[in-house]
Symmetry: C2
Subunit: 222 residues, 2 copies
């Protein structure tokens, strides 16, 4: 075993194999992870690339190709050990850690994202909420007090922020992104419409909620 | 030209070529569509599969393979006509129509989805809002009155509902999905955690908001 195929807990991994994976590959790994969690619930000890592929909506060849980037996980004909593969894929994805997340944008979407249980379950903890509108600050969400976005930099300096979730109006997107970059945060999950210009060292992922609905209109159009 | 490569407005398409496309392919088409809309804004008349690929985060071979399912859109060495390709891809995706959408779940996420401008822009109109909690009914969102979910069936009978967006608590997901199926709706966009059991004739797409954040934790883990 090599790379992320090393036992969970072993943090050493060759850089080379990590750089080969595209965002699309990593997104598929997240899907495989979910299927593996379900298989574990169903007490299945092994899983074939065929079953993993079917439940993830991709081809078996794709599953094998994606996993081969990170190491050698299965034995030909025997399938994968479901528990081990789940741990290994989770380790590749950086799950099982405590990720410190700040949310900027305390509107309806921000509130929904703050309450979203899926984040916390995977280790993403929204510990700060900021808003551009002074009228919203000082409001309490659980035990988190909403603060003006001008305090983002000080908050990041005092207490590491790994990821910022951006859920502000479209016209505030770039301005807030600049503040996030200035604060030294390296990762942005962007729910705000429009592309952001950020330095190459900062990773941005865009969430477009209408993409999923278009695969339904495609199906209904057939 | 053949299949969905026929001029926009021509609704005839061979069934065969439509069934070949997976959800993953259609999701990529949605990304290409967004890139093409941007190129049009930049007044670019042609676009190569290389540029389309780079901006969509996939390989050129993938772009050519995806588009070849639906017809012959480009001429070797000349690239694609950006405007024409945007119209053709939009037509494949069923955009430019008026899709009648009902939202079930008037919580924070439901409210954010109701306000989400991206849906309406692509032709998805949330015309009904239902909730399982009687305390929420009769509230007005714009000119839409929130109604008890028990009225979904009558609403669908009186006025076609193409797509239901499900944003209810996890424990209500399957029960509401059954009501959606009984009402004769053929497509569900599910934001509620958990798999839904529905007949094969009903299409379900799952939106897992934590998948995008995992490609950031992967990047930060490197």
């Amino acid at each position: 075993m090599r790379g992320a195929g090393a036992p969970a807990g072993d943090k050493r991994r060759p850089e080379l194999s990590m750089d080969r994976a595209s965002v699309a590959t990593i997104t598929r790994l997240s899907s495989y992870y979910r299927v593996l969690v379900e298989s574990e619930r169903d007490r299945q000890q092994t899983i074939s690339s065929k079953v993993l592929a079917e439940r993830s909506g991709v081809s078996s060849a794709q599953v094998r190709k994606d996993l081969s980037i990170f190491g050698n996980f299965g034995r030909r004909g025997l399938g994968y050990n479901a528990l081990q593969l789940r741990e290994q894929v989770g380790h590749i994805l950086g799950l099982g850690r405590h990720w410190r997340v700040a949310l900027v944008g305390a509107g309806n979407l921000g509130r929904a994202l703050f309450a979203y249980k899926g984040f916390r379950k995977q280790g993403f903890h929204v510990e700060h909420v900021f808003d551009v509108d002074p009228a919203k600050t000082d409001e309490l969400w659980g035990d988190v007090r909403i603060r003006p976005v001008s305090e983002l930099r000080a908050a990041a300096a005092g207490n590491r922020i790994d990821i910022v979730i951006l859920a502000v109006p479209a016209d505030a997107g770039q301005k807030v992104a600049n503040m996030v970059v200035d604060a030294g945060v390296r990762a942005i999950l962007n729910f705000t419409p429009g592309q952001l210009a950020v330095p190459a060292a900062v990773a941005v992922r865009y969430v477009d909620l209408s993409i999923a609905i278009e695969s339904l209109s495609y199906t209904l159009t057939k």
